[in-house]
Amino acid sequence: MTTLEGLSHGLTVALQPSVLIYSLFGALLGTLVGVLPGIGAMAAITLLLPITYYISSEAALVMLAAVYYGAQYGGAVASILLRLPGTPQSAVTTLDGYPMAQQGRAGVALFAAMVSSFAGSMLGIVILVALAGWLGRLATSFGAAEYAAMMVMGLVAASTIGEGRPAKSLSMVVLGVLLGCVGTDVNSGVQRFTFGQVQLLDGINLVALAMGLFGLAEVIGNIRKAERDGPPPHVSLRQLVPTRDDLRRMVAPIGRGTLLGGFFGALPGTGSTISSFLGYALERRVARQPERFGNGAIEGIAGPEAANNSAAITAFVPTLTLGIPGDPIMALMLGALVIHGIQPGPMMLEAHPDMFWGLVVSFGIGNLFLLVLNLPLIGLWVSMLRIPFRWLYPAIIVFVCLGVYSVRGSTFDIVMVAGIGAIGYALAVAAFSPALLLLGFVLGPLIETNLRRALLVSRGDLVTFVERPVACGFVIATAALLALPLLKGLRRRNG
């Protein structure tokens, strides 16, 4: 089946009324859970799973997929308006989205997030269709050495995203990496920093960490301001419309974010959180005026939002072409396929073309629907800012607790989020960047396990990082990233 035949076949599948309705329902639900802090696609898909027993396999998968990419849209809303990421991957959107909202440009920031999400998804679909085979091979050709080298590069490239002095930034990255060590060590089975708490054996819950550091810390910080609880300035329609300059600034970041997200999404084990962080780091790196970042640069929204949406689409590549789920949500979707008697694997495209092409076409329809749904909602979201703090903040705390609990039904995690919130407030007061802590937390364990695994595979030979061409490329790039500021400094001194 050629691509064109496949797409037209997929169209007949995706436009079946039952499939279409489930797709739209999934997209709507995804947006909603994305907006609600802490409650993510995982919880929604888990709840929907029993329903999938009773509907066709195409409708089931299309619905679950729509929840997954729909959640990537909603996550930015609370990040921009309240500095409260709806999902961990939108934590980075707070960095420039929230300053924009404080400058009265919340509407423009939301517009940028929605349009970048849409563009990232649509271009992600193009990447998926054009390069599915190549991306599938990429997934198996990336070994532990490549992952380790690539993640070190990511960590080095991204550790400049915070504000302030390098020592402060570095200390947050290190703290994040250390927090990532909590739990059972994969290689030895040794329990690290668990203090006899069985609840910590699987590590600290990422959602609890993100919600505590950003959401709760922000709520605590605002308690003092809450007395000045007047109605916020009126947002006129004019302020919702981006300027020509805004639009011009968004184009290149969307392109770069899409490519970056498309690449990381297709690799099992990386995914959309890493994509959005690195998307942000990339924009800051290539910017002519990096000092604008953190003060409401629209590129800082467009890049990461395009990246995480593109990653959410290409994440289906290893799942559909190899039967290998790249993250727990994808594993859940494969579970749904198995319930329907479809064995995911390399033969799926041939054995179930309806499923593959129907899903691909439904991505397009679902994303179009999400754009149409979300653009008019911007005004409504912005009006959320008019809710008095004394109503808004208790509601936020309730949602954060619900969201954290929804991850694995653990009351322990709710206590955790309270503690992390207090620490997050202390960090905010001392002007440390929580985004860097989160970055270290996400990348640290990946670097550690892959580094150790690469050395096991090579039987302890460090040459493996230079011998394997792709790994070597990442090592050179990392060295360049480290050397660049040094050279700049030298030139300044000489010049």
């Binding site: 898909i45 888990t46 709840l47 799973l49 029993p50 997934a139 198996t140 050709s141 990336f142 070994g143 532990a144 059972t184 060590d185 994969v186 290689n187 030895s188 089975g189 329990q191 668990t194 006899g196 708490q197 069985v198 609840q199 054996l201 699987d202 099992p268 084990g269 290893p318 190899l322 039967g323 290998i324 789920p325 790249g326 727990p328 594993a331 859940l332 579970g335 749904a336 198995v338 319930i339 008697g341 064995q343 995911p344 694997g345 390399p346 033969m347 799926m348 694995r408 039904g409 653990s410 396990t449 695994r453 096991l456 595979v457 039987r459």
Partner: protein, 325 residues
């Protein structure tokens, strides 16, 4: 509170206690039954639990609520079940690990699988296959063992130190008299990717995990750890008795239903009877097999024996691997 109110409250409390004790096993269950599952919704232990919970609820006339309490390889769900006390309404469906090897691997487990757990019945078992990449030079177990003659020449992936995949591989290596090189991963998906990419040589995994890649011609299955050939992959030879391996070589993962120790024995018996009825239903058997699991009806004593035997067998493997490290 006035005296009258206090005595009324006391009276109603006593009446409540009386009603509960009078109810006994005949009227059980009088309220929804809770089943604690150690893995998230959509995982295979969860799917198995739900497959059993639905007909169980129908047979008993009360809802059976599946409570997913994932974490620590199933251990958290057992702790949560025990935290509710032996109220005759809290049960668990869990895998072998938390009931056999967990006391050896987790220092602060908080329960004793023998003293604190009352076995209800085994639900299903799953063997593991020895899978290698399509390019692997050998096509059978003898060839694999020959290739592994040099210590640590052949590597294998597992889903972590102490996991079923790790211990099975070490059990196999010990029986075959070879030394394999262990590389731990976090999921079977990672192990599969690594074998496909040629990074590691082999791995023990569920037949359903390897099967799609075998059909695609990118993997080979050299043997299976069950005592009999497995219906899902009937052509894969059993390892027992082959290439010098003992005739009783067997390693299986299992799912079982358990209760807190002290649960009314009549209730355990009733549950076991219902469970066996469900597991003898051919439709349930087919659904289990499609997921790679073999239904295993049996008595609660059978499960107790399985726990004791496996604890001893895996304990021996853990002793040897820890001594080697």
């Amino acid at each position: 509170m006035t005296d009258l109110r206090r005595s009324l409250a006391l009276a109603s409390l006593l009446a409540g206690a009386f009603v509960t004790s009078a109810a006994g096993a005949q009227d059980w269950p009088a309220e929804p039954v809770h089943v604690f599952v150690g893995f998230p919704a959509g995982s295979s232990p969860d799917t198995i639990a739900r497959l059993v919970a639905e007909p169980l609820a129908e047979a008993m006339g009360q809802p059976v609520v599946v409570e997913n309490k994932p974490g620590a390889g199933g251990v958290i769900a057992i702790q949560q079940m025990l935290a509710r006390g032996n109220d005759d309404y809290s049960f668990g469906i869990n895998i072998n690990g938390p009931l056999t090897t967990a006391p050896r691997l987790i220092a602060d487990l908080g329960y004793d699988p023998v003293a604190d757990i009352a076995p209800v019945g085994l639900i299903a078992t799953s063997p593991l296959v020895l899978a290698v990449g399509a390019d692997f030079p050998a096509d059978d177990v003898q060839g694999f063992i020959d290739a592994a003659a040099e210590p640590e020449a052949i590597s294998y992936g597992s889903v972590g130190e102490g996991s079923g995949a790790h211990l099975t591989a070490e059990l196999f290596a010990d029986a075959a008299g070879v030394q394999l090189f262990h590389i731990p991963f976090q999921s079977y998906a990672e192990v599969t990717t690594s074998i496909l990419g040629g990074e590691i040589d082999s791995g023990f995994m569920a037949p359903s995990a390897a099967l799609p890649h075998v059909e695609a011609g990118t993997m080979k299955m050299l043997g299976i750890t069950s005592a009999e050939p497995f219906a899902q992959v009937p052509d894969v030879p059993v390892l027992a008795g082959q290439a010098g391996l003992p005739d009783d070589f067997r390693a299986e993962l299992w799912n079982a239903m358990i209760a807190p120790a002290g649960t009314d024995p009549a209730i355990v018996e009733r549950l076991n009877a219902e469970l066996n009825k469900i597991l003898k239903n051919p439709e349930v058997q087919d659904r289990l097999l499609a997921m790679g699991w073999q239904a295993q009806p049996g008595t609660s004593e059978d499960l107790a024996e399985r726990i004791t035997d496996d604890t001893a067998m895996w304990g021996g493997v853990i002793d040897r691997t820890q001594a080697a490290n």
